[in-house]
């Protein structure tokens, strides 16, 4: 193989520096930044770089991950100050002349390195009754027009990664706010024509910690790795509360 043809097939590799926020609950030390140099390829994502660190340099580096292509929602983290999924963030798309900063999502207690306590987040989700409530017992499928189905399509995409909620400055303040993800999941049912409990959910979100705490900073919409129009969904829920129905 000539030198030239070899070049075409090669995926270019380059070196990047990652600053990772480390915290070990067992060593009694405060959280700190630690830097790692990693050789990566053009197709590598931040998750690949973290794996390279874990597998080649420091096995104690801890983070959650599973599917590695943006559908399971395990690896939301703050990369260069923005909430993203590590498995959907190509390193070459970041400014690689600078170190890449990776830290846990904010507003939830850090358990270890990039792992946070997700329970308050899940609790907020469960609090909005995120399930279909319908009294009829159909023998076959319930009918639903394509338009009615389309009405809540956007909010069915949520993967509960918490990127939105933990990008919300209101959530950062005291963690009591329901947060964008819970409202998105309420929206998914409030606007489902088959559901009969929109009023119940609207009542839940018409709360001191409900939709009214939203300040429309659009951080959530920007953070959502699924491209959900989160702020719009929250606004639609506010409108629904004012109308008293979906």
């Amino acid at each position: 193989m000539s030198a030239e043809t070899k070049k075409i097939g090669e995926i270019p590799s380059f070196k990047v520096t990652l600053f990772v926020r480390r915290f070990n609950p067992e060593d009694g030390q405060d959280a700190r930044w630690q830097d790692f140099d990693v050789e990566v390829f053009g197709t590598d994502r931040v998750l690949d770089a973290l794996h390279k660190i874990k597998w080649e340099q420091d096995g104690s580096l801890t983070f959650r991950r599973s599917c590695a292509h943006g559908v399971c929602g395990s690896d939301a983290m703050r990369i260069n100050g923005r909430n993203r999924l590590a498995c959907k963030t190509l390193i070459k798309d970041l400014d690689i002349t600078q170190p890449i900063y990776v830290e846990p999502i904010k507003g939830l207690a850090v358990e270890k390195d990039l792992v946070v306590d997700m329970n308050p987040f899940y609790q907020a989700y469960r609090d909005v009754k995120p399930f279909l409530i319908a009294s009829d017992k159909p023998e076959k499928e319930r009918l639903q027009s394509a338009e009615d189905r389309e009405r809540f399509d956007d909010t069915t995409k949520c993967i509960l990664c918490a990127a939105c909620t933990t990008s919300c400055p209101v959530f950062w303040t005291d963690g009591q706010y329901f947060g964008p993800a819970a409202i998105v999941n309420a929206h998914r049912f409030i606007f489902d024509s088959r559901d009969e409990a929109a009023e119940v959910r609207l009542e839940i979100l018409n709360d001191k910690e409900g939709v009214w705490r939203c300040r429309t900073t659009f951080n959530c919409t920007e953070a959502c790795p699924r491209g959900i129009q989160v702020t719009k969904a929250i606004a639609e829920v506010k409108q629904a509360i004012l109308r008293g129905r979906a």
């Binding site: 801890t62 292509h69 997700m118 399930f131 499928e141």
Partner: protein, 591 residues
């Protein structure tokens, strides 16, 4: 090191795994028995959520269809290694399974008159192979995501108890021979390092697959076959482990899956010269041939030098003739994958694809009541399995697309129902005092190990050898090479060490333990593949290119024995189990 803290619980039904099958079982069991679901992940992180295309059911909402045709397709798709009684149940109960999900709230795409819409999918035909049929019910290209979300939502509704980020590492069995009964499972809690012993009358395994034995795979990092491995280590058999499905359209080099829906909606596979090569391999249904045939055709194009790209190592999936609105409405996620990961714009450019390890047809043998078998016939009372980890066998030698989402719903539900039925009359089997001792030993061994081998290195070498030797094309030599390599890796596995010695969120430790399961399962796969000297479905032997119904129209059953071995693989005993045939006699499989 302090003694591990051990917590004890008693339930009627314990379900291991919170993917589609596990949660479907929980929805049946929860309201009728004290039920717990133990999962190594938060439920919605399970890999069911990655399934894209759809769920087959002969609803006949858009065109004529029947469950018999569906049964036939499933049997033929599985290259006649399917147990036909199970396939009949799968096809018959598919309609109710879809209705169940819709009633639980799943947002299926709709027809203009408001019914559940259906689309074409590989291998699904009308009237026994005459033409493709629209049988797959779907929610855009995130059907699995919607199934997983809907099932979790209903578990929340029913107040099902979950133990998330608990790794089940052992099944406690009591008694000998045919009197052996499951008594409890032992789980390691990721957050604390504590051990938890869950006693239960019925135990359901729904732990998913083990794609991480391969390098190029659509499977999640967490799919390491722990559940299947636990069963195998208990001396119970594993069925049809040689049959592993390679999905044709993985993103080249990455393995990330592009759903078959892409071809269902009209996508075309082309080689370097732009030829629609599937016309040569499956003249009737072309790109919608079953996955094993398409994957092999693709690999063959590349082998014979017709691959695309600078290294001629992939083929192209062409969607450019589809209107962008259709792509946006029906295939949004997969086009986004192509954009994000390869920087390819599917509206205007073909997408580089190559087969990726996708689904284990084999697994824990069960009967149609999802009861686990301890040999060809004997049931282990109180032990159930469903989903990818189980082998009923409805997928035979090759699973049809959309039949896995169906499998988890039909047999997940059955597992839940029969687990409750058993728990209602059965007594708890007493848990031995030293129930957790094996897990304690396993963990302490890894934690204290002071060797110089790295887990990641061994895992990578395993995955490399599996991709090289046990993938789409296999030979006696390649399989022996893989087996020798696995034996070498096993020896080196005894000499590992880990860096994280802590108790909290020690994923370093768990990756080492998971590698142990991967090695076991890879070895079983390779040994059974070597013993099956024929080509059938997903298993293709270049040295035995045809199907041999005379000798191999049987399921393989692999048992771990404690035999001292001179040669690798000798400790695995292979037995054979007859295939249940009802209506469809084996025919040549042409599309």
């Amino acid at each position: 090191m302090t003694k591990p803290r051990i917590h004890n619980y008693t339930y009627d039904v314990v379900i291991v795994g919170a993917g589609g099958a596990g949660m479907r079982a929980a929805i049946e069991a929860g309201p009728h028995a004290k039920t717990a679901v133990i999962s190594k992940l938060f439920p919605t992180r399970s890999h069911t959520g990655a399934a894209q295309g759809g769920m087959a059911a002969a609803l006949a909402n858009v065109e004529e269809d029947s469950w018999e045709w569906h049964t036939f397709d499933t049997v033929k798709g599985g290259d006649y290694l399917v147990d036909q009684d199970a396939a009949e149940i799968l096809a018959k109960e598919s309609v109710q399974a879809v209705i169940d999900l819709e009633n639980m709230g799943l947002p299926f795409n709709r027809t203009p008159d408001g019914k559940i819409d259906q689309r074409r999918f590989g291998g699904h035909t009308r009237d026994h192979g005459k033409a493709p049929v629209r049988r797959s019910c779907y929610a855009a290209d995130r059907t699995g995501h919607m199934i997983l979300q809907t099932l979790y939502q209903n578990c929340v509704k029913l107040g099902i108890e979950f133990y998330n980020e608990f790794y089940v590492l052992d099944l406690v069995m009591v008694g000998e021979g045919k009197k052996r009964r499951p008594s409890a499972v032992v789980a390691y809690e990721l957050a604390t390092g504590d051990l938890h012993v869950f006693q239960a009358k019925s135990i359901v395994f729904a732990t998913g697959g083990f794609g991480k034995i391969f390098k190029t795979t659509s499977n999640a990092h967490t799919l390491t076959g722990d559940g299947v491995g636990i069963i195998y280590r208990k001396g119970l058999p594993l069925e049809d482990m040689e049959f592993y499905q390679f999905h044709p359209t993985g993103l080249a080099g990455l393995g990330i899956l592009l759903s078959e829906a892409a071809r269902g909606e009209g996508g075309i596979l082309r080689n370097a010269s732009g030829e629609r090569f599937m016309e040569r391999y499956a003249p009737t249904i072309k790109d919608l041939a079953p996955r094993d045939m398409v994957a092999r055709a693709m690999a063959n194009e590349v082998r014979e030098g017709r691959g695309a790209g600078p290294n001629k190592d992939y083929v192209l999936l062409d969607l450019t003739h589809l209107p962008p609105e259709v792509i946006d409405a029906k295939l949004p996620d997969i086009t986004e994958f192509a954009r994000t990961y390869l920087g390819v714009e599917p509206y205007t450019e073909p997408v580089p694809v190559f087969p990726t390890a996708h689904y284990a047809m084999g697994g824990i043998p069960t009967n149609i009541k999802a009861e686990v078998l301890s040999d060809n016939k004997t049931v282990v009372p109180g032990l159930y399995a469903a989903g990818e980890c189980a082998c009923v066998s409805v997928h035979g030698a090759n699973r049809l697309g959309t039949n896995s989402l169906l499998d988890i719903n039909v047999f997940g539900k059955r597992a839940g129902i029969y687990a409750v039925e058993y728990a209602k009359t059965a007594q708890h089997v007493p848990v031995p005092a030293d129930a957790a001792s094996e897990v304690i030993a396993m963990i302490e061994k890894v934690r204290k190990a002071k060797g110089n081998e790295k887990v990641a290195v061994l895992r990578k070498e395993l995955q490399d050898t599996m991709d090289k030797n046990a993938q789409v094309y296999r030979t006696e030599d390649s399989l022996n090479e893989a087996l020798d390599k696995i034996a070498e890796l096993r020896a080196r596995y005894e000499n590992i060490s880990i860096q994280d010695k802590g108790e909290r969120f020690n994923t370093d430790l768990l990756e080492a333990i998971e590698l142990g399961f991967l090695l076991d399962l890879a070895e079983v796969l390779v040994v059974t593949a070597r013993e099956r000297r024929e080509s059938r479905g997903g298993h293709y032997r270049e040295d035995f290119e045809t199907r041999n119904d005379k000798k191999f129209m049987v399921h393989s059953m692999a048992y771990l024995t404690d035999k001292k071995v001179k040669k690798p693989g000798e400790n695995i005993k292979i037995d054979w189990k007859p295939v249940t045939i009802t209506n469809y006699q084996p025919m040549e499989r042409k599309y």
